[in-house]
Symmetry: C2
Subunit: 308 residues, 2 copies
């Protein structure tokens, strides 16, 4: 099984409005809710690819209950740890006139030391049966900034490959604990390394401790610097659509191919095809399996020159 950890889960709400006008009142024409947070998105895609998947992290309060009830019918095992605080909401307001989205993200609940200890116990138990683990997203208030570094070390001690997908100081600290893979996007990579030149920044990130760095560069695809070499995976053409969740689909592609024992070029091709199929899907964070199959044939993976 593959384990995904989402410390700051969210109930993702989407409001559709005919047109967004600041400082006006809007009738919402459609309301959608789904369980959110990066690790839950990764788990959904892994399950769709046929992998047994378990999610842990925190959920609490009325929104946490709704999140768990929406998770229940999905082919993903819920091992979320309860909190007394209330799970945050994210609100995406979709403007049907332009197709653009305006996003409002609530802060998470304060996690107590007791709740963090309960998460560690659950995590340690789940690691025993995991073939890979993904640590995803922001930290809720109350959790120390070195939390991901701690989770990375525990995974490595258990011999489970660990991928870290976060940003800011939790990423900086987490990388130093030597995760197998980190998957920053261009902004996260620039914040970490100070460089906007992708290959230089990706190599710099790797020198900070990660065994492999896979940078997701939006329409430019993926750039990977690994112990086996460096590759760039590029989709066949620039596509238009909703990029929400594309990075999470890339993580699912990397992990699924990793546990199947595929070499790096195949892992990257799968990740790039899934990310592109997610951008093309009408609903945020979903992917079209047929388009994914087509894209998988047409993604170009090219080896990059060795570091100077």
């Amino acid at each position: 099984m593959i384990l995904t950890v989402t410390l700051n889960t969210a109930l993702d709400i989407t409001h559709t409005v005919p047109a967004l006008t600041p400082h006006a009142s809007h009738r919402v024409t459609d309301v959608a809710e789904r369980p959110g947070g990066k690790g839950l998105n990764v788990a959904r895609v892994l399950a769709a690819l046929g992998h047994e998947t378990v999610v842990t992290g925190f959920a609490g309060g009325p929104t946490g209950e709704v999140l768990r009830s929406l998770l229940a019918p999905l082919p993903v095992r819920d091992a979320l740890v309860p909190t007394t605080g209330t799970t945050r909401r994210t609100l995406a307001v979709v403007d049907t006139a332009t197709g653009d989205t305006t996003q409002f993200n609530e802060p998470g609940p304060v996690v107590t030391p007791t709740e963090w200890a309960a998460l560690l116990t659950t995590y340690q138990e789940l690691l025993a049966g995991a073939r890979a683990v993904a640590l995803c997203g922001s930290l809720p208030p109350g959790i120390h900034v070195g939390a991901y570094a701690d989770l990375v070390r525990r995974a490595r001690a258990a011999g489970v490959p660990v991928l870290l997908d976060t940003s800011g100081e939790p990423l900086r600290r987490g990388i130093a604990a030597r995760p197998d893979v980190v998957k920053p996007n261009a902004d996260e990579l620039a914040a970490l390394t100070g460089s906007r030149e992708p290959l230089r920044a990706t190599r710099d990130a790797r020198r900070r401790g990660a065994h492999a760095v896979v940078a997701s560069l939006g329409p430019d695809g993926l750039l990977a610097v690994t112990p086996d070499g460096s590759w760039r995976a590029v989709p066949p053409a620039r596509v238009k659509g909703n990029p929400t969740g594309a990075g999470d689909s890339a993580v699912a592609g990397l992990l699924s191919a990793l546990v199947e024992g595929a070499p790096w070029p195949e892992r990257l091709g799968r990740a790039a095809a899934l990310a592109t199929a997610t951008v093309l899907a009408p609903a945020a964070g979903e992917f079209d399996p047929e388009r994914y199959g087509e894209l998988l044939e047409r993604v170009t993976v090219t080896e990059q020159a060795a570091a100077a």
Copy 2:
């Protein structure tokens, strides 16, 4: 006791953001929740004025549960009827840079015929102990457009003075059932009568069946056409602030003075003072009791010439 009816209750959520930028992602710096819907706002103000108050209407699903848990500590009796559908949310995004609010209102849950029948039973029982009733706000889906007319007729049959505060077709139908008071705002009055000339429109609205019409004209105060005469109630000065809930506070002022047996000028003075104190309060829909006391002394109520 005074009864307020809110068929389309809401969980009112307020998100504070540093500045609203369409199509961007925002970190919400503060989240507030309160039980919402016009009748619940009216009830809160009535309770603050020392009146025993009961609320009915519908509540259901996880947001309905949160709404009821937020109502529980307030000095208002909860006689809401459960629905299988989920109570809607309203989201107000407050931009701290400008102080402006952008509002997103979800549609309500579909109310079934069985739930409507249960509401009628509860309403009829509560009318027996009520000294006045306020029927407030929009109708949720599934409720026939003549619902308020039905509730008005039942109140009149029970000998309970009834105030109707709604808009559109439910107002048009409700007025024809001869409520004691209707309280349209300028837009609702214009939609009903086709006239933006306040005195003409107010008189026209009264001819449609209401015994008294109290038009709330924002900073221009209130204009009332009643069986006892016509009055205008004007606050001492134009005030700046958040007008959310000012109309609901005016309804509470009218009803509380009515059950105390006060004559029309006093009812209108109280309503105008409460509405202005609500605009001045920092939190939407609250009012500052001290400012209310000051304003009560300084609102001007002047009799208007008889209809031509």
